[in-house]
Subunit: 109 residues, 2 copies
Amino acid sequence: MDAVFHALAHDARRGMLRRLAAGELSVGELAAPLRMSLAAASKHVKVLEQAGLVERTVTGRRHVCRLRPRPLSDATAWLRFYEGFWDARLDALQHVLDPPHPSVHEEAP
Amino acid sequence: MDAVFHALAHDARRGMLRRLAAGELSVGELAAPLRMSLAAASKHVKVLEQAGLVERTVTGRRHVCRLRPRPLSDATAWLRFYEGFWDARLDALQHVLDPPHPSVHEEAP
DNA sequence: GTTATCCTCAACCATATGGTTGAGGATAGA
DNA sequence: TCTATCCTCAACCATATGGTTGAGGATAAC
């Protein structure tokens, strides 16, 4: 979980995931639009890979990456616990109520 | 966005958010169950605060914290783009199709 | 075989993280 | 007033992050 959120905590890596959602890409293709060296981009790919968000297949000299979205569903499941709090009305009530008691939620993820 | 995901990328901070969902807590109360110094926990609170996830009110010598969940909704909105990919059937198809074409999704967040 | 391409690796550097301890400011309670 | 409590701050340390460059392995192309 730490690894997943950490992987998402960098714009370059989120961009990679976004582009991988449209289909497979090689490391070089992932690196191309980024203003950094290929080696740096390669490290970002490795971070995504170690978080389980990206899978790599080496075909010849190309390392082709594809999205492995399952860990994202875990992250969303975690966040979903707080959905009730996003509600604008509750958000506003937070200023008034002390302490807030969102009775809808009892257990934490 | 980086700050929000970074804030979520540590178990101690996620634990703080979870407990704050049940109501306001002081820094000391947030720190109590953690196996680290008060100063360390205080730093974690500051990370949550700078990500906009926690708001602090100083009343006397107590620093009382409350959940500020709005940034979590932004994070979830970002993740929601990938919802289609979590589907088990699509997940399985990923092994077969090359490249994957989840036609449901066109634009990225 | 030679060369160009794709990518990783290792070394290096600057800065950020995550923890500690010790000092101390501010407030509450006696 | 004196003391205990809550919390931040500063200094310090080890390690992780995020970037660079240079070298080189493996494969494709010629």
